[in-house]
């Protein structure tokens, strides 16, 4: 590895450049004073004009932002309940898979696989399918259909993270709680859920980001009186990219970086605390051995 270090560095630089150049351009031009809609590819000077524009009612971002937030909150809330309970149900089933009939076990395995399928199904298919379903059911298109659709693709994110966490938890903890007199419901509320909570929260953050960001599915199930932020952005860029869209993208980018950075910091802290405990344990063990 050391021998190839210069090449590895060059390779790394190229990859990073390719990944981040487009984003950099957007950030850079959000501060560009050139008001051109199509030909603003010349940097004329520094300006915060477009950030100001975002708050101007004329650009009309207020209502879409509000509906996007409402949709994201509701769909995350519903998905959190569905995904968490689903994960608990599948990981902590009362009967061992090996003790079930072959048919029931196969069904269980299938259930596990199928429940994460929405992540893999192309969004366009999901969008068309939901459109067809809601038409069939006669549901009026609008906030309700948007929330329901977002739940469909949000559930797997929460389900997967919670399932991973539960699988890594010692089932002995739940047994110990039963042993100490907790009913299954009490075990759920005092042991399982509190221990799964970090995973629920991180799944929710992921799902929230997915919901805020979704365009394709929302496009299909959107109604005449509702509009989400991505849909609004799409309609604003039909004729060139207005400079305030750059500003909006930069704001959203900053929000994402903040959330990611915060969660990274939190994890790093937890890891450091963990290491500190291990070191202390080691010291105590040595002290015990020293006395022996």
């Amino acid at each position: 590895m050391k021998k190839n270090a210069p090449w590895a560095n060059v390779y790394m630089a190229v990859i990073l450049l390719l990944l981040y150049l487009p984003i950099l351009v957007v950030v850079l031009f959000s501060f560009n004073s050139n008001p051109g809609r199509t030909a603003n590819f010349q940097f004329e000077g520094f300006s915060l004009q477009w950030y100001q524009d975002l708050f101007n009612p004329i650009t009309g971002y207020g209502a879409p932002l509000r509906s996007s937030l409402i949709i994201a909150l509701w769909s995350v809330l519903l998905s959190a309940v569905l995904g968490t309970l689903g994960a608990i149900g599948l990981v902590r089933r009362p009967v061992r898979k090996s003790l079930m009939g072959r048919g029931a076990a196969a069904l269980m395995t299938m259930g596990e696989q199928v429940s994460v399928l929405p992540i893999m199904i192309p969004e366009i298919i999901l969008g068309i399918a939901l459109l067809a379903l809601f038409t069939l059911l006669g549901l009026p298109f609008g906030m309700v259909t948007l929330v329901l659709s977002h739940v469909v693709f949000c559930v797997p994110y929460i389900y997967i993270t919670v399932k991973g966490r539960l699988a890594s938890l010692d089932p002995g903890l739940e047994e110990a709680a039963r042993d100490l007199g907790a009913t299954p419901l009490k075990v759920l509320t005092t042991i399982t859920l509190p221990l799964a909570m970090p995973a629920v929260i991180s799944g929710c953050l992921l799902a929230f980001a997915m919901s805020m960001d979704d365009f394709v599915i929302s496009f299909f199930v959107n109604g005449p009186h509702s509009n989400t932020l991505p849909l609004k952005i799409y309609s604003s860029v039909k004729v060139g990219v207005p400079p305030h869209v750059n500003a909006l993208c930069t704001v959203m980018l900053a929000a994402v970086f903040l959330v990611v950075g915060f969660s990274q910091l939190y994890q790093a802290n937890a890891a450091r605390r963990h290491r500190a405990h291990e070191k202390r344990d080691e010291r105590e063990r040595k002290a015990v051995e020293g006395r022996a």
């Binding site: 003790l99 903890l173 042993d179 100490l180 907790a182 105590e284 015990v288």
Partner: protein, 365 residues
């Protein structure tokens, strides 16, 4: 223990099958109130499964569990007056020491003041006063272990199950905790069922030991009975160091059997189940064998060559090869001994009542 003992726990015909594997194959057991009973056996012998059935964490395939005369075979674990100290402690990582110990009482809906009082008594008992606010991850192995014990004892169970509670501790701590546990058990008068695969631990702590193998009890006895009177070769070899010498029964008369060991005639007690001509094993504890350079005036002896001899301070361990090639190990005190010469002929003798005849039930036999 007094003659009139009350049976606290009664297992009858207990069986447990996982898939096609039978983990417990027919166990009958009466545990008396206040007793310290140990389930001893190699890993995979079914001792943990038995314990989990008693705790209600596993349903038996067949058989019944009675606690205090009441059938609890199908009672949910939270409704049994039985608590468990788990092998890996299973402390709740998101609760501090106080909340861990208070958990059971909280589940019972005990008033706050009562919980606080009882938890404080427990903290004092396990010498963890002042550690209330610590999280389990901030405790050492020994401290975690004590929290796990306090968490179960605070509920004053009729029966406490301990699944290799000292398995993860280092030797020194283990010895200390063994004594501490035994003292606690005697002070509180709670019945303990204790699991271990450490025979020394079982011998020093238990009132009775149930030696298990492949889902069955091999022998249920006091530590002394198990050590002095093993009923099978497995029991003899699992507990302590022993010589298992191949012997042929020559003649059986009254309560004595005359054995042929490598050409020597050796009498032994315990004969009613032996048929002449049968090949058996004679279990002789290494520390019960005596060595002598001159012929001895006793019934039980063999002569062999001293092939190995190690001085180990207070005692010497010697290996003697008898004429048919079998090796005997002897451990004798070095007090006043003459330095034996390697290769010389020695007489190996023992008292007639220390030899125990068993049938060979060892692996591959």
């Amino acid at each position: 223990m007094p003659e009139e003992r009350t049976v606290l726990l009664s297992l009858k015909g207990l069986r447990k099958t996982f898939d096609t594997q039978e983990a417990v194959s027919g166990i009958d057991l009466d545990v008396y109130a206040g007793e310290f009973l140990t389930l001893l056996g190699p890993s995979g012998c079914g001792k943990t499964t038995t314990l989990r059935i008693i705790a209600g964490l596993e349903m038996p395939t067949a058989g019944t569990v009675h606690l205090d005369g009441q059938d609890i075979t199908h009672l949910a674990p939270e409704r049994r007056q039985v608590n468990t100290v788990f092998q890996n402690y299973a402390l709740f990582p998101h609760m501090n020491v106080y909340k861990n110990i208070a958990y059971g009482l909280t589940m019972r809906g005990a008033p706050k003041a009562e919980i606080q009082e009882k938890v404080e008594v427990m903290l004092d008992l396990v010498q963890l006063t002042g550690y209330e606010k610590r999280m389990p991850s901030q405790l050492s192995g020994g401290q975690r272990q004590r929290v796990a014990i306090a968490r179960s004892l605070v509920l004053s169970p009729k029966l406490l199950l301990l699944d290799e509670p000292l398995g993860a501790l280092d030797l020194q701590l283990r010895r200390n905790m063994q004594q501490e546990l035994k003292r606690m058990q005697q002070r509180l008068g709670i019945t303990f069922i204790y699991i271990t695969h450490d025979q020394e631990e079982a011998l020093t702590m238990s009132d009775r030991i149930a030696l298990m193998r492949e889902g069955r009890f091999v022998q249920l006895d006091t530590p002394k009975g198990l050590y002095e009177q093993p009923q099978t070769a497995f029991a003899a070899s699992f507990i302590g160091a022993t010589n298992l010498i191949t012997a042929t029964a020559q003649a059986v008369k009254d309560d004595e059997v005359l054995l042929d060991i490598a050409g020597f005639d050796v009498p032994c007690f315990d004969s009613d189940w032996i048929t002449p001509g049968e090949t058996l094993l004679l279990s002789l504890r290494a520390e019960r064998l005596h060595l002598s350079c001159e012929p001895v005036n006793t019934a039980c002896w063999v002569r062999g060559d001293l092939v190995e001899s190690h001085y180990a301070g207070g005692e010497r361990s010697s290996t003697i090869r008898v004429p048919d090639g079998q090796l005997l190990r002897a451990r004798a005190t070095t007090e006043g001994e003459r330095e034996p010469t390697l290769g010389s002929a020695v007489y190996c003798w023992w008292n007639k009542d220390v030899g125990v005849l068993v049938r060979d039930d060892r692996e591959g036999a």
